[in-house]
């Protein structure tokens, strides 16, 4: 059986990635992609990789009836439009932060007033590694933030194995590519200003802390740097477990947790050029790489993780969750291999 799908915000970056994935997905048929600024233009006009897709953007005001509606719009749009979205589709998968948190009070702590707070309890956070059992049948799904996803995937085994108990200081130093900013872009994301940067763009107070706190139960010290790549988010977590931990404890924690996960690979030392998680290794794929190193001298564990923010960090995660929600094989449409070599992906 084929499901019909629409992408609201189809001219944006994550919207384009959704279109790429859905167009190649054997169980989905894309019937609509919206754009206000590019209405009636072909999808290829915005996304040159999709020149052969026979589809034109239409207005988000006139939504087709579909099985699944993916919303890839800026913060705040989905909560405003949610009734229209649910009228149009049985299942709504939202990529924004609008439905990620579970309560109004948590939302207000980090954001600025929710229009439909009653839906927060109803929506399901998408990340399957965390939430797989809650997804089947879910009809309002919130894909996680890219930096939050990188961090959660990197730390989850340590939390579940109680190597981290929640009392420790955990520093999370994130490096991200420019596609995180979306297709808009102002002066700070112009090529001359954004190339070659190591820019502390969220020194403190990044809103993805809220998700990490909620889903890992950890207060983390979070800092995000913009670096010169386009796709990719890499989280380096520095932590100081209360109890001594060995490298074999770490291997066991990560292997135990992720052995059966189709999209998580452990990369922790070894030879060759790629010894720890790197955004380059996963670019274009839905894989997350996680790894770690032990700093015996100061009892530190360094946990690394890397994802493609367009994939595991947004569109890929959304499709993964939709697969589970609909009862499809999880990896359907997501068996995409990354590249080697690949530049600043």
């Amino acid at each position: 059986m084929t499901y019909t799908a629409s992408v609201v915000g189809g001219s944006g970056f994550t919207g384009g990635e959704l279109l790429r994935l859905l167009a190649g997905h054997p169980e989905f048929e894309v019937v609509q992609a919206t754009s206000r600024s590019k209405t009636n233009k072909t999808v290829g006009h915005a996304h040159p990789n999709l020149r052969n897709l026979d589809l034109r953007f239409s207005s988000p005001e006139e939504l087709e009836s579909v099985d699944v509606l993916f919303a890839a719009t800026p913060h705040g749009i989905s909560m405003e439009s949610i009734d229209r979205f649910r009228d149009a589709a049985d299942t709504v998968v939202d990529l924004s932060a609008d439905f990620r948190l579970s309560s109004e009070s948590r939302y207000d702590e980090w954001y600025d007033g929710h229009e439909r707070p009653e839906l927060l309890a109803e929506s399901v956070y998408a990340l399957p590694e965390l939430n797989r059992e809650q997804l089947p049948g879910a009809d309002l799904i919130a894909a996680g933030g890219c930096n939050a996803t990188a961090t959660i995937v990197g730390l989850l085994p340590l939390v579940e194995e109680e190597i981290l108990t929640g009392d420790e200081q955990v520093v999370v130093d994130v490096k991200v590519g420019s596609s995180e900013g979306g297709a808009g872009g102002g002066e700070a994301s112009s090529h001359p200003e954004r190339s070659g940067v190591v820019r502390p763009y969220a020194p403190t107070g990044h809103r993805h802390e809220a998700e990490i706190e909620e889903f890992l139960g950890l207060d983390v010290s979070f800092t995000v740097h913009a670096v010169d790549m386009i796709r990719g988010a890499s989280a380096t977590c520095h932590l100081f477990p209360g109890e001594p931990v060995s490298k074999s404890d770490l291997w066991q924690a990560y292997r135990g947790r992720y052995a059966d996960e189709p999209f998580v690979d452990i990369v922790a030392g070894g030879g060759g050029v790629y010894r720890y998680p790197e955004p380059k290794s996963v670019a274009g794929s839905n894989r997350a790489e996680v790894g770690f190193e032990l700093d015996a001298s100061n009892k530190r564990v360094v946990a690394f993780s890397a994802i493609d923010n367009m994939m595991k960090g947004s569109a890929g995660q959304a499709v993964h969750a939709a697969n589970i929600a609909l009862g499809l094989e999880e990896t359907k449409g997501l068996e995409l291999t990354g590249f080697h070599p690949v530049g600043a992906p």
């Binding site: 420019s178 995180e180 102002g186 700070a188 994301s189 954004r194 763009y201």
Partner: protein
């Protein structure tokens, strides 16, 4: 060069030079800290840290 007057930097407390022709509500930057400062009065010039506009800044 343009005329200047002095005002107190609201962050460091140091005296700084600001253009004489600033107007209330104008945003200038501190030559000491680089921080954006809002002109809240002009005679004498008083300054206050301007609220950050995170949205505008990349990502």
């Amino acid at each position: 060069m343009a005329d200047t007057v002095t005002a107190e930097d609201p962050i460091t407390g140091e005296e700084i030079e600001v253009p004489a022709d600033v107007e209330v509500g104008e945003i200038i930057d501190s030559p000491v800290t680089g921080a954006e400062l809002e002109v809240i009065s002009v005679d004498p010039v008083e300054l206050e840290e301007a609220p950050e506009l995170e949205e505008d800044w990349g990502e």
